[in-house]
């Protein structure tokens, strides 16, 4: 049994010794087992890696603090909630807000003594952090999708229902964070399980051991695949007929994470398993979760994600298990077509006559600098905005549902705070993402969020010369192979291998339907421009009209196409591993 399984088993439904740990003021940390449990509560213990070296000499423990991830189903937040997040970021966190690749808010740098207050106040704002991480179903994504906003309400509602239905039911969360000492505990009510598979009273769906590994769900409305539906465990592709959602194609078995040097770990795109009607959708989610609970690997965490379960069982027998749990068969998948997995920037207008403004936020980091008062600007907008804020799956932000009347006012603020200018960046930058990595991420091997912007500035020079400044090319960077910025479905993917060195991957599909392939291993950051420059120039001269960069590099033989996940490490060009 994997280590974490024992911890879950002993935790009494995620309680562990958290209350004791929070009370101990001699250390800013929690005990190791509890740090595994806090994840289920949306909290990661971290330490500032920039200062690790100096601390012991100064007779100080590592600079521990906590990252708190807020669950935002579908990424939709009211202006009031935005203002709260902004306030909390300044009151308890490091003064910035991180908009994640899964449409959530993250706070960094919250110290232990402020943890309970922060989580409590997040809940007061009607968000929560429960199951934002951990071996359970996490924040359910849904594309903001302005141009199809008639069905947006409907898919958004599905996202919330699934999120609520698959939330852990343990009382631990409220006991530890919400109970304000007033004695009587706040009650949370969940709709009952649908299938007659009953586990335990406290956790009817998950049971005592929860899932073998994290579990991720998305809903997407074609043609926009900005949520990268194939990168997730469970996905719903809305099938729209006469502006109504008639049902969903259900996808299973996607995921990015892998480990350098172990080929039995690999990114995998999800399979389309079948079709379900809107009223079956939640039951299907429950069934897939239960199937993974039963068949997922609990011996080896590196092999425990649903993608490996599906890979091992094969999609057909996995579908059978799901249908057995459901008690009925799924329909045949319906045709669908995705066109891109990026965001559409600037203003769009929907059929109701409302406007939506999508703004580029470098790596999703909302903050103020001397040159660019973005955070203040957004705060000012939130004070007057009547619509909503929508976090995109590409770490960007959409100011949604601006009425015609309100548009000039918002437009002025966007202008005054130079937010409009942000969208003037190159096509490469607008389609870029980087994960957090250093200094907070404990797993990073190299810089990412702090480095990608500079790298893009370098590459922009090449694009300028090649006349490709406005061409959309997806570029994504992560500090380690876990793939938090979904680098394996980027036309250009950088994955950290060590300080200042990255693996370079090329050739993913522009709409997120094909994985990329290793082009060069361990490229020094100083060499990146020299390695990619020629390919970009070649693309400028020799691409077919409308040909995407990811398709071009395959046609030109820079890399072979990756058609299925388990081939990700296969048929590399000899020079890929560094000749």
């Amino acid at each position: 049994m994997a280590g974490n399984e024992k911890i879950k088993d002993a935790s009494n439904y995620l309680r562990g010794t958290l209350l004791e740990g929070l009370a101990d003021t001699s250390t800013g940390a929690l005990c190791d087992d509890d740090t595994q449990l806090t994840k289920f509560h949306g909290i990661y213990q971290q330490d500032n890696r920039d200062v690790r070296a100096e601390r012991r000499k100064k007779k100080l423990e590592p600079a521990y603090s906590f990252m708190i991830r807020v669950r935002v189903p579908g990424g939709v937040s009211t202006p009031e909630q935005w203002l709260e997040m902004d306030r909390l970021a300044h009151t308890y966190a490091n003064g910035t807000l991180k908009l994640t690749t899964r449409q959530a808010f993250q706070f960094h740098g919250v110290i232990k003594s402020n943890l309970k207050k922060t989580v409590y106040e997040i809940n007061q704002s009607l968000f929560d952090t429960l199951a934002a991480c951990g071996d359970v179903n996490r924040n359910v994504m849904c594309n903001p999708n302005p141009d199809e906003s008639e069905v947006h309400a409907e898919v958004q509602e599905l996202a919330s229902r699934i999120s609520n239905h698959l939330s852990p039911r343990t009382g631990a969360y409220h006991e530890i964070w919400i109970d304000d000492g007033s004695g009587e505990k706040q009650k949370v009510t969940y709709d009952p399980p649908i299938l007659d598979h009953f586990d335990t009273a406290e956790e009817p769906i998950y049971g005592k051991h929860y899932l073998p590994r994290k579990f991720k769900t998305v809903v997407a409305v074609p043609p926009s695949n900005d949520v990268d539906i194939f990168a997730h465990c469970l996905g719903y592709i809305a099938i729209v007929e006469q502006k109504k959602v008639v049902g969903y194609n259900v996808t299973v078995g996607g995921g990015m994470g892998m480990t350098h040097g172990s080929e039995d770990t690999f990114p995998r795109l999800a399979d389309v398993m079948g079709f379900c009607t809107p009223d079956q959708a939640v039951a299907v989610a429950e069934a897939v979760v239960i199937a993974q609970k039963i068949f997922g690997n609990r011996e080896d965490r590196k092999n425990a994600r649903l993608k490996y379960t599906v890979e091992r069982m094969g999609i057909d027998s996995f579908r059978n298990e799901v249908e057995r749990l459901l008690g009925y068969k799924l329909g045949k998948p319906r045709p669908f077509k995705f066109e891109h997995n990026g965001d559409r920037f600037g203003w769009t207008k929907d059929h109701k006559g409302n406007f939506h403004y999508t703004m580029f936020i470098a790596n999703g980091r909302v903050l103020d600098t001397d040159e660019y008062q973005m955070m203040t600007g957004l705060r000012e907008i939130a004070k007057v905005h009547r619509g909503d804020f929508r976090l995109t799956a590409n770490q960007n932000l959409q100011i949604g549902n601006v009425s015609k009347a309100a548009k000039p006012k918002i437009e002025k603020l966007l202008k005054d705070y130079k937010i409009l200018d942000a969208n003037g960046a190159s096509g490469l930058r607008l389609n870029s993402m980087a994960c957090v990595a250093l200094p907070t991420c404990g797993l990073s091997l190299a810089e990412s969020e702090r480095y990608l912007p500079d790298l893009i500035s370098e590459l922009d020079e090449v694009l300028e010369q090649a006349g490709l400044r406005h061409d959309a090319i997806t570029v994504r960077m992560t500090g380690c192979p876990n793939g938090c910025a979904r680098p394996y479905i980027a036309e250009i993917g950088f994955v950290g291998r060590g300080p200042g060195t990255y693996n370079l991957y090329l050739g993913a599909g522009f709409c997120g339907d094909r994985l990329n392939k290793l082009y060069r291993q361990s490229v020094k950051s100083t060499d990146i421009k020299a390695v990619i420059g020629p390919i970009i120039r070649d693309y400028a001269h020799n691409r077919k009209s409308g040909e995407r960069f990811g398709d071009f590099v395959i046609r030109q033989g820079y890399v072979n196409a990756t058609n299925v996940g388990h081939d990700f490490h296969k048929d590399l060009k000899p020079e890929a591993l560094g000749a």
Partner: protein
């Protein structure tokens, strides 16, 4: 060496003696000194036998131990004059008892902003109050300890001196006010006063000057600081902190210096070159002017206080400068204006704002007081670190009147000395900050900021001697992540069970300010229980606000938990002070 003018000789005798003394080499001096003191002690002995040995009371009021040390030395000296004297602490007497004594010497320091030492407060109030007994049969003389960098210099000594006269006492020798280097003034005063009493034994010796001078040449100490090698220097605050707190480890090997936990170490700093240059620039004096065997520049760098600024030094300066604006500012009428002007200003501002070109090297150094040593609570136990002494020093840096300014000693250690360099130090013992004699007594330590220093020493000591008493520490600073001084050590002490409880208050981690006194109040019930179980309470650190706030918190706790009135609680705390169960080391 010269016979002081106030010595009891005719001019003729003095010139003769001087010419002889001048001719003596050190060896001869020591011999003569030994010889005379021999004569004296036998004289003293003989007088002692005769029942008529005059009685003398030496009363002291102290906070950090100086007055007490001088009281003890005065007693020794008095014996040589044939007195039968007893040393009395202000904390343990009242005017009624005291007024019985015929001959009274008072040695008292001034604290806070012109306040009496903590332990003397009770006595002082009574003496000043209407209920005070008459001193009609008492002859007295006062030695006032102080620091001339404070506006209210020797205030308490002055007040007591005046009050005793009001109450009918007869001043037999004029009060002497001492600055931080009080040695010479004590010698003049003690010698003068001891023979000024009506019973003054005529054969009183004048050799003490020589004797003590000779004593100085042996061993390191206040008169002869030990150049200790700096073995370790660590900035304790983590990156991101607004604070600058240093941990110093000094090597005492071969110094013969001994210390106990609770003592302080005195550092004799040097001024920074920039300050020296500023002074020379402003006065237009030549750096190379000879002053004895040093140049002016060297002299003011090492030997003089060229930073502190008070109306006293401004007054002396104006005697030369005769600046009309300054004269106005110094008018007693304008105390407030002067205080406002001088706040955050230093000696250099005086020179710049009221320039005076007639200043000479001598008149300048004549104005200045000697370099003042700074005290630092010792942060180590000699039992845990043989031959070492550790300090915890906060660098003083601030911006006032368009200049960035620094504290002399703290930044001398922060900026001017590095590992391997030597720092002149001596031990300043502090009898009023001691662990309980009984190792099984529980203790509560309250030490935010650098106030943590002596408690690191306390806990090390208690571990070393295997003390069984429980230890509870309250610490506070600005930020948990950067300013948790010695965090890893406290964690170990907790693991090893030496430290039983640790409560921390970090003021700037959350919107509302949280300080140690709040943590104390939160733990009221337990704190009271500890006190009820006989715990000693120790407070160290900032005197301006923390010490007061903690004191009120303790009163509140005793009142609430012990169902007492505020007055009763205060009395209770005063009792604890007397019993040395409530000790403070605040600055």
């Amino acid at each position: 060496m010269q016979i002081p003018e106030n010595a009891p000789f005719t001019l003729e005798q003095r010139t003769k003696l001087n010419s002889i003394l001048a001719a003596l080499n050190p060896a001869q001096q020591t011999w003569v000194s030994g010889f005379f003191s021999g004569i004296v002690s036998s004289a003293a002995a003989s007088t002692a036998q005769t029942a008529t040995a005059p009685e003398l009371t030496i009363l002291f009021g102290t906070e950090s131990g100086n007055s007490e040390e001088l009281a003890d030395r005065t007693k020794k000296l008095a014996a040589k004059y044939g007195y039968k004297s007893k040393v009395v602490n202000m904390s343990e007497t009242d005017t009624k008892k005291l007024s019985a004594s015929k001959n009274l010497l008072v040695i008292v320091s001034t604290w806070g902003d012109g306040d009496p030492p903590d332990t003397a407060t009770g006595f002082y109030k009574e003496l000043m109050g209407d209920g005070a007994a008459k001193f009609s049969n008492t002859s007295f003389s006062v030695l006032a300890l102080g620091d001339s960098s404070y506006e209210k210099f020797c205030e308490i000594g002055k007040k007591i001196d005046r009050r005793l006269e009001e109450l009918g006492g007869k001043r037999v020798f004029d009060r002497v006010d001492c600055d931080v280097n009080y040695e010479a003034n004590w010698e003049t005063w003690s010698a003068g006063a001891l023979k000024a009493f009506p019973v003054g034994t005529s054969s009183a010796p004048q050799t003490t000057v020589v004797a003590t001078a000779a004593a100085a040449s042996e061993g390191f100490g206040k008169k002869n600081p030990f150049p200790a090698i700096l073995e370790e220097k660590i900035l304790l605050n983590g990156t991101g902190s607004a604070k600058e707190t240093l941990h110093l480890e000094l090597n005492l090997e071969g110094s013969g210096l001994q210390y106990e936990v609770g003592d302080a170490l005195a550092i004799v700093p040097t001024n920074r070159d920039q300050d020296v240059e500023w002074v020379l620039l402003a006065t237009g004096l030549d750096a190379n002017t000879k002053l004895g065997d040093k140049t002016l520049a060297e002299a003011i760098k090492h030997d003089f206080d060229i930073t502190s600024l008070t109306s006293r030094i401004a007054g002396k300066y104006n005697e030369i400068a005769k600046d009309t604006k300054l004269t106005a500012l110094l008018d007693p009428e304008n105390k407030k204006q002067f205080a406002e002007w001088s706040y955050g200003r230093q000696f250099i501002d005086l020179l710049e704002d009221f320039p005076c070109k007639t200043l000479t090297a001598d008149s300048l150094t004549g104005l200045l007081r000697g370099m003042a040593p700074r005290l630092y609570s010792i942060a180590s136990s000699p039992k845990a670190h043989e031959n070492e002494v550790h300090l915890t020093i906060a660098a003083v840096r601030y911006q006032t009147h368009g200049k960035s300014r620094v504290g002399v000693a703290s930044t001398y250690t922060a900026d001017l000395v590095e590992k391997g360099d030597k720092i002149p130090v001596y031990v300043h013992s502090n009898k009023n900050f001691r662990l309980p004699v009984d190792p099984s007594t529980p203790i509560i330590m309250i030490g935010p900021g650098t106030g943590i220093a002596p408690f690191r020493a306390f806990v090390e000591e208690r571990q070393a001697i295997g003390a069984t008493g429980k230890n509870w520490l309250f610490f506070g600073d600005q930020h948990y992540s950067y300013d948790f001084l010695y965090q890893l050590e406290w964690q170990n002490f907790l693991k090893e069970g030496v430290l039983n409880r640790l409560d921390v208050a970090f003021s700037r981690d959350q919107p509302e300010k949280i300080y140690v006194q709040h943590k104390l109040l939160q733990a009221s019930a337990e704190v009271y229980k500890w006190i009820a179980d006989g715990a000693c309470v120790y407070v160290c650190g900032d005197a301006n606000r923390m010490a007061h706030d903690v004191n009120s918190a303790l009163i509140e706790i005793i009142a609430k938990q012990g169902a007492k009135s505020a007055e009763e609680a205060e009395a209770c705390l005063a009792e604890m002070k007397k019993a040395k169960r409530y000790q403070r080391d605040v600055y």
